[in-house]
């Protein structure tokens, strides 16, 4: 008998789109991790008279539905690579001393993102476990977010083509690491970016100690409307031009950002998280680097109550013509995604 705390979710990459596979990776589950199925109920057009003021139930029907899955969880220094590949689209692994560096971007070379089977094991109040498995899952939206004084979180929204409650519950197994958190982070803003390699992090930017929070939003712009006259089977979404936005909040300790706004500057930026877990001669690390932040918003907003002055900032992520729009770099003991 399960307990109310045995709520599980897991995932696995599909070798063939929308062909379910046994999930093999399991992650922490939060209240923000949800799944839903839109049955897309339709109503036949036209009025059928008969002394009623509502529609006849026999005139309504359901075509093939659409699944939406949202997962939100803290980023840890183990097992992050698998989910990151699903979220961003592209991941690579290169051996470094003590482990590997994994590099993630949204720079897919084909027309589609990798697809996944995602399973939820939801415990009812009476202890019964309801297992729901979605296949043909493609990341549609991604948010990597650092709030003020909290853990770094990754939120991924998946589009799902199929849903089944007939697939058995997979055996859960977790790999847990150290959670990346704001207290481990340092920021670089402006200056000349030395691009990362497959084995080294980005470097070279001017240290910037005023940042309180940041968020990287990616809309993969996948096409979830591929409804052809094909027996109700929706085709695999193709990946369009992603919309990448960046925002944050800074303390009003310098004119760096407001000056950049007025000047219309484009600034490189990165944030680096370093744990105390040894990795070779260093430590496990996560870095998010953006070569070009095209500044769009951010003017000082002094408070009239004497409190510390902070203000929100925003930028559009543009491409420098020679690098990905951003890198998420992950150095850990994981030697594979």
């Amino acid at each position: 008998m399960a307990t109310m705390l045995d709520q599980v979710w897991g995932m696995v990459q599909e070798s063939t789109f929308n062909t379910p596979a046994t999930v093999t990776r399991f992650y922490a589950r939060t209240d923000d991790t949800k799944h839903e199925w839109d049955n897309r109920r339709r109503m036949g057009t036209g009025l059928v008279a008969g002394g009623r003021r509502t529609s006849l139930g026999s005139r309504t029907y359901v075509p093939t539905g659409i699944g939406t899955i949202t997962v939100k969880l803290p980023v840890e220094d183990k097992s992050f690579g698998y989910l990151a590949t699903a979220a961003f689209g592209v991941g690579s692994v290169a051996v470094i001393t003590g482990g590997a560096q994994q590099t993630f971007t949204e720079a897919v070379t084909g027309t589609v993102l990798p697809s996944y089977t995602i399973q939820f094991q939801d415990v009812m109040n009476n202890g019964t476990v309801v297992t729901t498995t979605y296949s043909g899952c493609t990341a549609s939206k991604v948010a990597l977010e650092q709030g003020n004084e909290t853990e770094l979180t990754l939120t991924v929204t998946f589009d799902a083509v199929s849903r089944s409650t007939s697939i058995g519950a997979a055996t859960k197994a977790y790999t847990l690491g150290t959670i990346f958190d704001s207290y481990q982070a340092t920021v670089g803003l402006g200056g000349t970016l030395t691009a990362p390699t497959t084995t080294t992090l980005a470097s070279g930017l001017t240290a910037f100690a005023d940042m309180r929070s940041w968020k990287l939003d990616i809309d993969q712009k996948i096409s979830i409307n591929r409804w052809n006259l094909n027996g109700g089977v929706r085709l695999q979404p193709v990946a369009g031009m992603p919309d990448v936005k960046w925002s944050g909040e800074i303390e009003w300790n310098a004119t760096t950002w407001p000056v950049a706004l007025v000047a219309g500057s484009i600034l490189p930026w990165y944030v680096t998280y370093t744990t105390t877990n040894s990795l070779g001669a260093g430590f496990t690390t996560l870095q998010v680097a953006v070569p070009q932040l095209a500044v769009t918003k951010g003017t000082q907003e002094p408070k009239m109550d004497g409190s510390v002055s902070t203000f929100p900032i925003e930028a559009t992520v543009t491409n420098d013509g020679s690098h990905p729009d951003f890198w998420v770099l992950y150095q850990s003991t994981d030697v594979a995604a």
Binding site: T19, P20, A21, T22, V23, T24, K78, S79, T133, S164, S166, I167, G168, A170, T171, K172, A173, Y174, T175, L176, T333, D334, V335, A336, A337
Partner: protein, 107 residues
């Protein structure tokens, strides 16, 4: 109770099995109950129609479906069977019955 010895293949350096309360390092083995080990995915067999949730392929003569397996052994490439089913205690020392006959050794 029959048990099975399975090996964790990775990719992580270690994995935690909350149902057993044990952590298994990559390359190490663990002795678990037959039910917990489950079975590997089966061969493709002919069928009249797809089975919900099972991999299926349409062929000129009908459908092929595959038993997806169960338990740890259904997770191909993550777990593998390293010893046949044995009577409990016949192959490997076990730490505790409460841990569903789970024990780990370095592989």
């Amino acid at each position: 109770m029959a048990t099975v010895i399975v090996r964790y293949l990775g990719p992580s350096t270690e994995v935690f099995l909350p149902d057993l309360g044990v952590q298994v390092e990559r390359g190490a083995t663990v002795e678990v109950s037959e039910a917990f080990a489950g079975r590997e995915p089966g061969a493709w067999t002919a069928a009249q129609a797809p089975t919900d949730g099972w991999p299926a392929q349409r062929t000129d003569s009908g459908w092929l479906v595959q038993d997806p397996g169960s338990g740890l052994l259904a997770q191909v490439g993550v777990w593998e069977r390293v010893a046949p089913v044995t009577a409990k205690g016949a192959a490997k020392p076990s730490t505790t019955d409460a841990a569903a006959a789970a024990s780990t050794t370095e592989g």
